[in-house]
């Protein structure tokens, strides 16, 4: 399961092949379309591509008013006022009510998507890479908007992204996925500072550092090899083909999420050989990993 699919499964856009989605103590995995309707009010989604997720042939006012119309919420007469209030709340000019999506910039379009998602006062907002299609300068505005709205409406955000800096900025809890499996999850502070899983550690080390002096001192860990096919994932731990700490047991059994060492109970790692505090990934002596891969990792580090 790709991370994006997690979002569409949470909102039941796609059917699940395994597992379940529980919302508010209720299993919504197998609800029919009809049964799902009231649940949809509470779980709304923001899409990745603000150019594709707005109907090009419909006016912004009617796009944002869609949730009201679909759920027959509020009188038709007050709908325009409601929509304009939403537009104002997300930083759009309510006078642009009658415009078409094509008349807005990418950032504004994403605001339209946010306004639409907020219309029914949802409790959970699934954000599927909401800023990855936007310019960096606009990303900050949308993220801050989301953070503000989260505080204002008491929302739960499920924020799906590959951008580690953004995640650190918006998240309370983080789950790291590799090849369709959650490999580590925990509070943002602890996960970023004390990553236990080798993959998390490698991922974090790939973040660019603004200070060049500091960048020198941080040794980057370059993972080599390609990501294996998710259709035929490797046996055991899915990361073992690229993990410098992999040992024989990693090939044989798949690790489960569990608290490691003296971590907080909600910091869980799926790894047979998690990193200790302060332990560097480059210190590891792999027992089974390809030596060639290890050599390349070394030379990659030297060239920095």
């Amino acid at each position: 399961m790709r991370k994006v699919n997690v979002g569409s499964c949470l909102t039941r856009l796609h059917d699940l092949s395994a597992g379940s989605v529980v919302f508010d103590g209720r299993d919504i995995t197998t609800l029919s379309r009809r049964q799902l309707r009231p649940v949809r009010r509470d779980i709304q989604m923001i899409f990745q591509d603000p150019y594709g997720s707005l109907n090009p042939r419909r006016r912004v006012g009617s796009i944002i008013g869609d949730p009201f119309a679909i759920h027959r919420s509020g009188a038709r007469s007050t709908r325009k006022a409601q929509v304009q209030e939403l537009m104002e709340r997300v930083g759009l000019n309510p006078e642009h009510y009658n415009r078409f999506p094509a008349e807005f910039s990418g950032g504004q379009r994403q605001r339209i998507g946010v306004a639409r998602a907020l219309a029914l006062n949802p409790r959970v907002l699934v954000c599927d890479e909401p800023v990855s299609a936007l310019d960096v300068s606009i990303q900050a505005q949308i993220i801050n908007l989301l953070v503000d709205l989260q505080a204002e409406f008491g929302l739960t955000l499920v924020f799906i992204s590959h951008d580690l800096s953004v995640i650190r900025h918006v998240s309370d809890r983080v789950a790291v996925m590799y090849l369709g499996r959650i490999v580590e999850t925990g509070r943002v502070q602890q996960l970023y500072e004390l990553p236990r899983h080798p993959y998390t550690r490698a991922l974090l080390s790939a973040l660019p550092v603004a200070d060049p002096d500091l960048a020198d001192s941080q040794s980057g860990i370059v993972l080599t090899g390609d990501v294996p096919s998710p259709v035929f994932p490797p046996s055991g731990c899915r990361f073992h083909t690229r993990c410098p700490r992999a040992e024989q047991d990693c090939v044989q059994s798949e690790p489960v999420l569990a608290p490691v060492l003296d971590d907080l109970p909600d910091h869980e790692t799926a790894c047979h050989h998690p990193l200790a505090v302060g332990e560097l990934l480059s210190d590891s002596q792999p027992s089974i990993a390809d030596t060639q891969i290890q050599n390349r990792t070394d030379s990659g580090r030297k060239s920095r």
């Binding site: 899409f47 000019n93 900050a140 801050n144």
Partner: protein, 324 residues
């Protein structure tokens, strides 16, 4: 680690920070329709055709006026003034502007009344065709699966039916008449429209805005008609304008074959059919109804071409590029 982005949020310049007044938008949105309309207005051929169509519509609407100006009823036979001593139609003159037919009736008045039939059938049968075609196309394309399989096969079957033969058979079974003509045409010409719509819907249903609508809990019917239909409407309109002349010709064909309206009623196909035996002696008898039919279908066809060009900005962009 990168710093969190700046907290001050200012929107893109076009969204003014202050907007206390909530009046109607000062800037009216230029919808794709408005843009297409403007392109259409710049198309001289299309405008000429539109004028011709309007004139024919006016002729049909004011047919009684034409009758009262000339002083001739549409089915009245002027055996003394309208026929030559040896019983042949009269050539155009001050009395009969477009001549008379074999029964001494005024051809101009009959063309005016015939326009009513042609346009009525053209519009009603096309509307029926388009409605069936759009609904079937939307259902097949969006619902997919078994529905699509069945509907697509039905489309194939209907397309493979030899229309004129079946129409002749049906009209002779159920009797000639306006309603039957419309129903027969509607029942057999929706398939190509359905195929066009289905093809469009197949690609549109994969778009993210459809997924967005589903995530909001919209019903299939709502997604088909509110979200997808507006996106295929341009193609539907283009095809509709091109369908009207076809339907008019089909109706005239049925009339020509004697399967149109009962005898005294004036309609173009029937008039041409009556003129068959007189074209060597009375050229006006076949020419004017024929011209009326030709002008109407040609005007609709060229106008349809104009509409298609107006709705396809890509083609326009290409020609612009070539012109430099």
């Amino acid at each position: 680690m990168t710093d969190p982005p700046p907290t001050e949020v200012h929107d893109e310049p076009s969204a003014a920070p202050e907007h206390e007044s909530r009046r109607e938008p000062a800037i009216t949105a230029r919808s794709p329709w408005v843009l297409a309309g403007r392109r259409l207005l710049r198309d001289r051929v299309a405008i000429v055709c539109l004028v011709v169509i309007v004139l024919i519509v006016l002729l049909a609407v004011f047919a009684p006026l034409v009758a009262s100006i000339t002083g001739h009823g549409p089915n009245q036979q002027y055996r003394d003034t309208g026929l030559s001593p040896d019983g042949l139609p009269r050539a155009p003159s001050g009395e009969f502007w477009l001549g008379t037919d074999s029964l001494g009736r005024d051809i101009l008045v009959r063309i005016a009344y015939g326009a009513r039939i042609s346009l009525l059938v053209g519009v009603v049968a096309t509307a029926l065709t388009v409605t069936i075609g759009v609904v079937v196309g939307l259902a097949a394309g969006y619902l997919g699966g078994v529905v699509d399989t069945i509907l697509a096969r039905v489309i194939d079957v209907v397309l493979s039916v030899p229309f004129l033969l079946v129409a002749i058979a049906l009209v002779s079974i159920f009797g000639a008449g306006l309603l039957n003509t419309v129903l027969v045409i509607g029942a057999f010409s929706w398939a190509s429209m359905a195929r066009i719509v289905r093809g469009q819907v197949l690609s549109l249903r994969e778009r993210e805005f459809v997924e967005a609508a589903r995530s909001m809990g919209a019903s299939s019917a709502r997604i088909m008609f509110v979200d997808i239909l507006p996106n295929v409407l341009a193609q539907v309109i283009v095809y509709t304008t091109l369908l009207i002349p076809v339907v008019i010709v089909v109706q005239a064909t049925l009339s020509f074959l004697g399967l149109g309206l009962p005898a005294p009623t004036a309609d173009w196909g029937g008039m041409i059919s009556e003129a068959q035996n007189y074209y060597t002696t009375s050229w006006w008898f076949v020419l004017f109804p024929g011209l009326a039919l030709l002008a109407t279908t040609l005007a609709f066809n060229l106008f349809g071409d104009g509409v298609r060009d107006a709705f396809d900005p890509r083609a326009e962009g290409l020609t612009r590029g070539w012109k430099g």
